[in-house]
Assembly symmetry: C2
Homo-oligomer: 633 residues x 2
């Protein structure tokens, strides 16, 4: 009955988070097409019906019933083939540990009209065994753990790791994290492999794009395939999903690994498409030419940004965007990215000069608009700033019918923030409304880390597209956009050359080379060690490496740190200044910051969770600090 | 060696999140005092050393080492007694499932200088067995599950549920959720009870205040004690901790239940204090007079708010606060709450009239300041609004050196938001800076649910103190503050009587009884069913109850819904209007909203997690809608 090959199709669909009806319509269309094409085995990604990052929508029973009904429709549509798809599985007779209906992150195998499940399981579907609870993932919040299920059922876990015998092949099915088992005391693939008759392994995933992750996945999955001596299908989807504050792109990047670990890719990423191939039934056959693993360079970052921006705008119904263009690099990169996804008349650049803005940067902002061919306005903030000063500076305070309690003073420092808020909350917000669109937040990750921005000022906006990029990455992206995406100087060379500056006081005069207090790339690298390293660096480690002379190697600095911070006292003062801001005011601002487009491990928001507890220094740090300060004086 | 009683002390300390050194200093002081008082058994709460809600600070190894070192100091200080305390336990030789060092949420028993653990355990400490992964809790993100540990070790879980034999008594020790086992397939207390020689059970907790939770805890814990036929100690701490956006108060409310289930309370809540009592060693002895369970009425809400505000201000170093006082009820309640925790000269009320603000509300705002005895200023927004209009309305758009692309128009609706932003981002922010403080967000939960507020406008502020209260609860709180907290009319009666109104257009004229589009209490109750019910109501359930005539009972309405929304079409239009806002723009605004002081189950932010996926309607809802619309036309 089985032929020499299984005609297999990976369906790298775009999944809409929280839209089971829309996703099912997509899935049913792919099934009809597959039937017409004589496909034996059609594989959809994890959570293809409900979507994956949907917050606490899992707690809505009406939503769960809808997902179940959609799964039934897919089963009924599978009369002529085998359809593998991810969905939530609900056991209404049992409870999750939160007292709500029992839910599993499940893979269903609809085989010619019936659900086929693992041979000896309690359920006619495969259950995700390894639930990620790190980064943006909250699987244990919503889904029941397989080990807990096995415990509840008396301890036998192996009954859940059995082959699924379908009309076209004997399958070994797992979900996403199940194949990333290195840190777990359980390997689902290894347990499945104990059954010698599995012909084909499937990993259905809902895996967001993360810079440099595909490399690792290729290594891990190719090794699995070689070890299993069977083909392994990796099916992931496209689209964007979010946890509110943190927006993730899904690149798809689905892939088939043959039994020798060679890969056939579903290219290009970030596109809904299919990959069809005949998988030979003979165990261990090589069937694919070796494809070199993709390089995740700046092009991939640009690709993810472009895709994420386009999908975010489309899903939120935002057709037009205003960018506050300062003449600096950050806003220029945001504008250039947006111009890749919007027609010129739907993008508006606004320069908002105050008394400290140089002719240099005003000119650069206008040049950017000219280069991009988009409308440009210049709206001054001086009259409003003067009004605010007049209304508040010198204002007497009094209790009604009672005594005077004081007089208010608005300092020059306070006026820096007044300017920034005037630009965003007064001008850009009104401009965006009048333009029929929204305005962006152009903050980068270094600024967001330490709160070098004004709340309700430059930290306002509907989205912070480059807030997961360090300043050095913003420059690299600017060069990439000019050289590759546009093939001409769109971002003015001057914006790449001037010193980064907020231009909010005479101490930030770009024409005199004066600007922001952040020192690049040193602070980029320092902050990355706090935010992005898997095992976080803190002042204790940083100061230890400083003392032992390892700091340059650890952080990847190309010159001695003494070239930037001459002695221990200066180094420590700088370290504590930024650490205090990172843990203090920086976080207070992030809580009210716009959504961040996530690109890397540990984007701010839900990927990197924070409490307002302020900076604290360990005993070890304080002792080392005392030693260093003492020995240097 | 053992006397007839165990001289026991519950140490209801204030725990500082993420501050092991500070907490250990507190703990050591309590130990010294206990030794002086001849205490046998001193019990501290869960996570007394590190704090509990500390985000991803668990990923900092320097922090973990500090916690370990602090635990050692506590052990060394226990030479003369038995000290039970919560701390993170780290097994540096094993991994968590995220690849980081293995961490357990643990209870340590320092007994006369040595750590005593469960008799047959792998470790000399008790491990929290039931890890909550709901509401604001992310235990599985950070701590290794006991069932996973047992699986890893070959399956025997009972070795971890054994008595801890100390110098003063044989203890059965669990942590917080371990005693809330109703929805779990495992009861730690029951497993422990199989060992007949346990004399005393301890539940160390880190349990935030939640409206009406203490009732339930009293029922559940008293039943445990009766069932176990042994005393049960519940030790919780005070303080505030947060997950960034969502700020939780901890009320302590520690309690001892005797073997008959009678309780002795540690009163009052929200105060760091101790409860000392001699616990008879004879099994099953009653030793406490029955104390009636506390009523969680509006007084408890006010108490939690007052405590949370005071601690939040203190921890953030905010000494002075500006409240935008509109004359309405929300800002009046916020101001009256703040006056309970700040001296009068550190509170400033600002009324910011525009063209639509009535003399009525201006007068009420001034009356409020007079009643509270605090300074008051009135700063007009008209000149700034006119300037914004002049700068943007009619502005021509052109590509630099190129064609004109259009002309901007600023509509009356857009000017409503311009007014709101002018008040908060221009005036209040500058005023707060000049006053040397911060300004509040006065939004209530109904407004926050559907985004009835302006981003960077009335949604701005350092904290949203009443954003977990429905409008009806705000009124009840206002009456309570006048009648009980102040004992006089502080919040003007007029603010309780006028219609709620944003006063941003002529359609919102309070003197004509015109105001906001929200209908209270109907929308309060409707939104609560979406946000606060454990199994969320959605339009499908709501419309079903509407059709079956159950809606009034389900939502607790005191009159037929037809009195508000006359027919099915009107009902459905209203339902979809607010559901769309709740899932759409309301969420977009919440992402950038200030921290919320949590009071109830499902405060916005981290307690109620949301993705930007917009409103979706199930097939069942759409079918019922079609039927209802058809039958009504």
């Amino acid at each position: 009955m089985h032929g020499a090959h299984v005609r297999t199709r990976l369906a790298q669909i775009e999944v809409s988070a929280g839209r089971p009806r829309a996703n099912t319509t997509t899935i049913l269309a792919y099934i009809r097409e597959a039937v017409a094409d004589g496909i034996d085995l059609l594989v959809f990604p994890e959570m293809a019906v409900p979507g994956y990052l949907i917050g606490d929508r899992w707690e809505q029973q009406a939503f769960l019933r809808q997902c179940e009904a959609c799964g039934e429709e897919i089963r009924q549509a599978s009369q002529a083939l085998t359809v593998v798809f991810g969905n939530v599985a609900i056991d209404w007779t049992k409870q999750n540990e939160d007292g709500r209906p029992r839910k599993y992150n499940a893979l269903f195998i609809a085989d010619h009209g019936r659900f086929a499940g693992p041979a000896d399981s309690l359920y006619p579907f495969c259950i995700k065994a390894l639930l990620p609870n790190y980064r943006q993932f909250d699987d244990s919040r919503h889904f029941h753990d397989l080990r807990k299920l096995a415990f509840e059922q008396g301890g036998d876990i192996d009954r859940f790791f059995t082959p699924v015998r379908t009309s076209c092949a004997v399958l070994g099915c797992v979900l996403c994290e199940d194949a990333w088992n290195l840190d777990y005391a359980l390997s689902p693939l290894e347990r499945l492999a104990r059954h010698g008759d599995i012909e084909l392994f499937i990993n259905a995933s809902a895996s967001p794009f993360t810079f440099n992750k595909n490399h690792k996945r290729n290594r891990v999955f190719a090794a699995h395939a070689r070890h299993l001596h069977r083909p392994l299908l990796y099916v992931n989807h496209t689209g964007i999903q979010d946890n509110g504050k943190t927006v993730f792109t899904f690149d798809g990047a689905s892939c088939v690994y043959d039994a020798l670990g060679n890969a056939v890719r579903c290219d290009p990423p970030f596109e809904a498409r299919t990959l069809t191939l005949d998988i030979p039934r003979t165990p261990g056959t090589a069937f694919a030419p070796l494809a070199p693993p993709r390089e995740d360079g700046i092009a991939e970052l640009a690709n993810a940004l472009r895709y994420g921006l386009a999908r975010f705008l489309s899903l939120r119904g935002i057709r037009r965007v205003v960018v506050g263009a300062s003449g600096g690099i950050d806003s220029a990169v945001v504008a250039a990215l947006l111009r890749l996804v919007l027609p010129p008349e739907d993008l508006l650049l606004a320069n908002m000069p105050g008394r400290y803005n140089s002719q240099t940067t005003r000119g650069l902002a206008a040049d950017l608009a000219r280069n991009l061919g988009v409308p440009y306005v210049s709206i001054a903030i001086e009259d409003s700033v003067a009004l605010t000063r007049a209304q508040i500076d010198g204002l007497a305070l009094a209790i009604p019918g009672g005594r005077t309690t004081g007089t208010l003073r608005l300092s020059e420092f306070m006026l820096e923030n007044v300017q920034a808020r005037d630009r965003s909350s007064r001008i850009l917000a009104a401009l965006a409304a009048a333009f029929g669109g929204a305005f962006t937040c152009n903050a980068n990750k270094a600024e967001l880390t330490v709160g070098y921005s004004t709340l309700y000022g430059d930290l306002g906006g509907f989205l912070a597209p480059i807030a997961d990029l360090w300043k050095g990455e913003v420059y690299a992206l600017a060069r990439y956009l000019n050289e590759s995406a546009y093939g001409r100087e769109v971002i003015p060379d001057g914006s790449l050359r001037i010193v980064p500056s907020a231009e909010l006081s005479s101490a930030q005069d770009v024409d005199q080379g004066l600007g922001d207090p952040l020192i690049y790339p040193y602070h980029d690298r320092l902050f990355a060690s706090w935010v992005e390293w898997w095992n976080r660096a803190t002042p204790e480690e940083i100061l230890g490496w400083y003392a032992s002379g390892e700091l340059e190697t650890r952080l990847g600095l190309d010159k001695p740190v003494q070239a930037i911070l001459p002695d221990a006292a200066a180094f420590i003062a700088d370290l504590e200044r930024w650490w205090n801001l990172y843990q203090g005011m920086g976080l207070a601002k992030r809580i009210q910051a716009p959504p961040v487009l996530a690109l890397k491990r540990r984007a701010f928001g839900f990927d990197h969770r924070e409490s307002q507890i302020g900076a604290d220094y360990t005993d070890t740090y304080l002792a080392l600090k005392a030693t260093l300060i003492k020995s240097s004086t």
